[in-house]
Subunit: 142 residues, 4 copies
């Protein structure tokens, strides 16, 4: 597994939405990025607000930028708020420090992309990201 | 018809890709935006280069920004290059002056969104955008 | 070959500088980027002016953004100046339309990175990029 | 000593990596800037994440921007977070308020450049910067 295909990206989104429906969550927005942080696929459910593409992308791109999940970036932001805040302006898609951005690992453990979800609580957003990654037969980075 | 639903956005993308396959085009990237220029759905076919999300979005957002197709923006750019160039830095997603960005009109004629496609020639990109809009039962702005 | 290692990036730079010395060129600046357009290594020879990191990066990043060499982007810019100019503001490192930015292809033909050189004529810059890529045992994209 | 040569910049990077290996640190990224904040040399070790060039540069450029080390900028950020946060968007390479960015002083005490390192803890990043500067026969600004 060297990269996420478009078919896999679409599977991730469909499965993430299915998880959201199962949990009766608010409208979700899901971005799937390649290893370099460039968008492969995105969908925003009806009723979601206007910044959702940027937030979903900023969770996933931030994870790739620092090599850790956006949940862990959120924890870093609690300890070192000025450091994390300083990275937003120098990161092409920003750094959104809240759970829901998960790196996808390739067969050698290196990142092959990332998934970012926003719309419900950050914990629920992350649950849906993990469900989507699993449904596509892919592996989240620990 | 007052807005593009996610189902319609996905139909647009599927039909645009089908048109691309029928015409044997290069890998395409398709963005569907709401009336405010915010992304509803996006897909990038395998093998497309990294800036394609930005280019597809920039065609569609530029069309909405000026109220005309990106083909007509391209014609304006030929006549008034400095004017069109000046708009890129002040438009959130840029203004890409090449065919392939088409406004979708609602039943009262006002824009309800736009489609932007990049990957092949601009003329072919636009053909696929029009095919996608028609397949979703929607109407391009004249 | 799935990615450019730091050792290979350094080999590219050393060999590019050797080619520049052999041809008695002006001070060169060489950037090596990964497939996502993120810097792996950079060196600027003594006497080069201040924007050289940005220019070298902009040639390489532009090539990856569009999937073609910066020489071909320069040719596109001659035919479609407004289109190429519109991409600068929406590309994280800009798009520099002049020879000297060359994509490196992996064993499956997909990009694994790019080299960008500036300092002498664009033709000479490109010669040095190709020399560097060959010296590292890598393959430029046709 | 009026400026950092490319040879010295490369020595700084090699010695910083040696210090990182000695201390068994995570993959490091090292940027060396001239007095104007423009990149002279950069290397990112294999396995480092994508934003590392920007972070290393942002530590070094921030130090030069304010005339103090990025460690002291971090201390200022703890006391005056809004002030430091306001500088990021108006600084070409941002201001990263965490240890690891060290100014190099010339023989008259004025800055001749700066080193920025990221990858491990900020304290370790700074240790490697100081080791690199010393190995090149240069002097950190007190």
């Amino acid at each position: 597994m060297r990269r996420i295909t478009l078919d896999q990206a679409n599977q991730i989104i469909v499965a993430a939405f299915a998880k959201g429906a199962e949990l009766n969550l608010k409208p979700l927005s899901v971005a799937v990025l390649d290893a370099g942080g460039h968008l492969l696929a995105f969908q925003r459910q009806d009723g979601a607000s206007t910044l959702r593409a940027a937030i979903a992308t900023g969770k996933a791109a931030g994870a790739l930028a620092l090599g850790i999940s956006s949940r862990r970036i959120g924890e870093m932001a609690a300890e070192r708020p000025s450091f994390i805040a300083s990275l937003g302006p120098i990161s092409p898609h920003g750094i959104v420090p809240a759970a829901g951005g998960v790196i996808v690992a390739g067969d050698d453990g290196a990142p092959i992309g990332a998934v970012g979800i926003t719309g419900d609580t950050s914990d629920n957003d992350e649950l849906c990201a993990l469900a989507g990654i699993a449904a596509a037969g892919l592996t989240p980075q620990n």
